[in-house]
């Protein structure tokens, strides 16, 4: 070898590498052009609009809540089409009976299949990320606080990849006309079963179902007062990523496994793998399978250690960071009308005017009475892992409610569009419930109903501010009669009677007949 030969050889190697890359690029471009996914995109877009966009529109514009549709709705349609189309593409060589023909090409089967898989995955991920962009842009235009959460996007991307990998592998190993629809059906059944199991998961019943990417949000203000710990998302990505990597390794063993199957199992796997050619490739494939299985197994084991956290989510001790337990700093959005201040978290600032308009008249009816609140404030709906119920704090007296629980109503901050009158009266009733029982805000189950006299007074006060008592159809005749009597009194007379009898009323010592 001469010194002059070294740069010449290096130059040739570079040129060869460039030629290889150019050939791979050409293959990929052809795959992009010929792939079946773009033809199905209009159908996928239509389903995405109905199932995902319209569902998200029904939620208040809170980032975490809107992002939950990515895993709870969007993945549904993407599972069906990603699985089915990947199986369709993967079964191409088998369907067209070209396996023997392409086996003689200089490229390894893995390289050939990788290009096909890359083309399909690129289209699917492009469609998926475009859908996420639509959701997030829409939310950005409406949200009053916060920013886009990224972990649901990572989980969704991993789920699309793993479903496509499963479909593609099924297509390669079981090519046929039934593979694509059966894979799509199987993917959807798996998705729904995972959702069903994840919804019913408890710490005592085992937490492996949390590996399902589809799971319902715990409450409407998740991620608003406390960060959503990424523990579960990391585990889900690890689990699905491990499966995808293992299947990618299995794909490179496709010719050997086919040979094994065609010989009816007479050839040992070890003998099939021990062929002289492509030994390095097979070694890489086996390593990939081992790494994928190890990652998935680790994620499975980690999911089994999950336990409920104080903010209503799940934490995994091995992955948990104490930083995610700290409250999210935010300055409340407040409004004061006629001395009664109403404050909500800025994420729910779009409810502030409606809320002040709902609570103001009722607050004016009871203003100045012992224990009457000087204002209303929204607090976190979960504390110490338990639901927080509304009530009036003692010092200073402020009506504290949550986005989930106001009096006996729940899910109030999910929206007021369907029944704005009922929504408004729910807050008024919640305020009066707390005032007439003297109940402070507390963690635990939904509070018991009011006593008959308390109910009559509440109905009368609601009638006085022009609202329909919510319990009109279910109260007894005695309660209704007492409410009517009390409502016909002048505001001053009602106030005077309440000032004198409020303690007895709260203690349940007054009957409806004693109400004037």
């Amino acid at each position: 070898m001469t010194a002059a030969g070294i740069p010449l050889r290096t130059g040739r190697a570079t040129a060869r590498r460039m030629a290889c890359l150019a050939a791979a690029g050409r293959l990929l471009r052809l795959e992009f052009k010929r792939n079946a996914v773009p033809y199905v995109l209009p159908l996928l877009a239509a389903v995405f609009f109905f199932n995902t966009v319209r569902t998200a529109d029904g939620f208040p514009p809170v980032w975490t809540l809107r992002a939950s549709v990515i895993t709870d709705h969007m993945l549904f349609e993407f599972s069906a089409f990603a699985g089915g189309l990947a199986a369709w593409v993967g079964s191409r060589e088998g369907r067209r009976k070209t396996i023997d023909l392409v086996a003689a090409t200089p490229r390894a089967a893995w390289a050939r299949l990788s290009v096909t898989l890359a083309g399909t995955l690129s289209w699917l991920l492009l469609a998926f990320l475009a859908g996420v962009a639509v959701l997030y842009i829409q939310t950005a235009l409406q949200a009053t606080w916060g920013g886009p959460p990224l972990w649901p996007v990572f989980v969704g991307t991993a789920a699309v990849i793993v479903v496509a990998m499963i479909g593609f592998t099924c297509g390669v190993f079981f090519p046929g006309r039934f593979t694509a629809p059966l894979v799509a059906t199987g993917a959807l059944v798996l998705y729904q079963t995972g959702l069903r199991q994840a919804l019913g998961v408890t710490a005592s019943s085992g937490t492996h179902a949390l590996l399902s990417p589809a799971s319902a949000q715990s409450s409407v203000d998740t991620g608003v007062y406390h960060h959503v710990a990424p523990d579960l998302s990391i585990t889900q990505v690890m689990f699905m990523g491990g499966i995808a990597v293992a299947l990618f390794g299995v794909l490179s063993l496709a010719p050997e496994l086919r040979q094994l199957a065609s010989s009816g199992g007479r050839t040992l796997l070890r003998a099939a793998l021990a062929g002289a050619d492509g030994r390095l490739l097979r070694a890489v494939a086996v390593i990939l399978v081992a790494c994928g299985v190890a990652a998935s197994w680790t994620a499975f084991a980690l999911a089994g250690t999950a336990k409920p956290d104080a903010a209503g989510g799940w934490e995994i001790p091995a992955l948990h960071s104490a930083a995610s337990d700290r409250p999210v700093p935010a300055i409340s959005a407040c409004r004061s009308s006629s001395g009664f201040g109403v404050c909500v978290h800025p994420a729910f600032g779009f409810y502030l005017n409606d809320l002040a308009a709902a609570l103001g008249p009722v607050a004016a009816e009871i203003a100045g009475l012992p224990g009457a609140p000087a204002g209303a404030k929204e607090v976190a709906s979960v504390n110490g892992g338990q639901d927080v119920q509304s009530g009036i704090s003692v010092n200073p007296p402020v009506f504290e409610f949550t986005a989930e629980h106001v009096g006996s109503m729940f899910g109030q901050f999910y929206g007021s569009q369907r029944d704005p009158v009922g929504w408004r009266e729910g807050f008024q009733q919640g305020l009066l419930d707390a005032f007439l029982t003297g109940r402070p805000p507390h963690a635990g189950p939904v509070p018991i109903l009011l006593g008959p006299a308390q109910q009559a007074v509440e109905d009368a006060l609601l009638t006085a501010v022009g609202s329909q008592p919510l319990s009109a159809g279910v109260t007894s005749a005695g309660v209704s009669a007492a409410a009517q009597r009390f409502a016909t009194l002048s505001a001053g007379a009602r106030r005077a009677w309440l000032a004198a009898h409020l303690a007895a009323l709260r203690a349940g010592k007054i009957t409806p007949a004693q109400i004037p």
């Binding site: 239509a46 109905f50 369709w88 059906t185 729904q192 079963t193």
Partner: protein, 221 residues
Amino acid sequence: MTAAEVLKPPAVPAGAAWRGPSGVRLAWLHLRSRRVPAGILALAACGALLHAALHWHWAFNSGPYAQQVPLIIEAGAATVIAVTVHSPFGETERSAGPWLPCLRLLAAAGMCGLAIALLQLGAAGESLNDGVLVLARNVIGITGIGLLCSLVTGGLLAWTLPMGYMAFCQYALLAGWTAPWTWPVRPPADRGAWICACAVFTAGLLLFTIRGPRTRLSDPS
């Protein structure tokens, strides 16, 4: 060899003269070319999947969620029927005889009936939300969509539109839609839903019988 031997017509196969078995043979060849035996196995697998889903409570027991998993499996059975319509012979087969439309009609209708029977068998002894009437209506209607889709996409991709319709109906179930064309969300005895499902099936079956699925020279077997 003499000229007489060469000119002697070949012996007619014994069975060819008998009309009955030749008709049966024609039907059997038609079904085999469409992979119907494998399709029946796939339908049986759908029935088994439905049985497993109901037995081990993979689905919710009541409410709109309870219909989700059975609907997916019913749509899966319908897509299996839709992909069996693909012919490996394409144009060539159309000039082979007058029986092709009848064979198409019988194969599609027979597979649909078989799918309902196998799914009902899978649900036997388990609590299927809304019962066999909704199951049958879903299979009939979604098969109709699949047959219509095969006229445009060809048989092999005829599963896409039924899957899209099913995904839409999942939303309609949860959003409480009541339109009759979303028949999976309607009660078992709803007349409008039955009319819509049967109309789609009839239209699909008729057009499929007359025209056959779209075929291309590049179609694989």
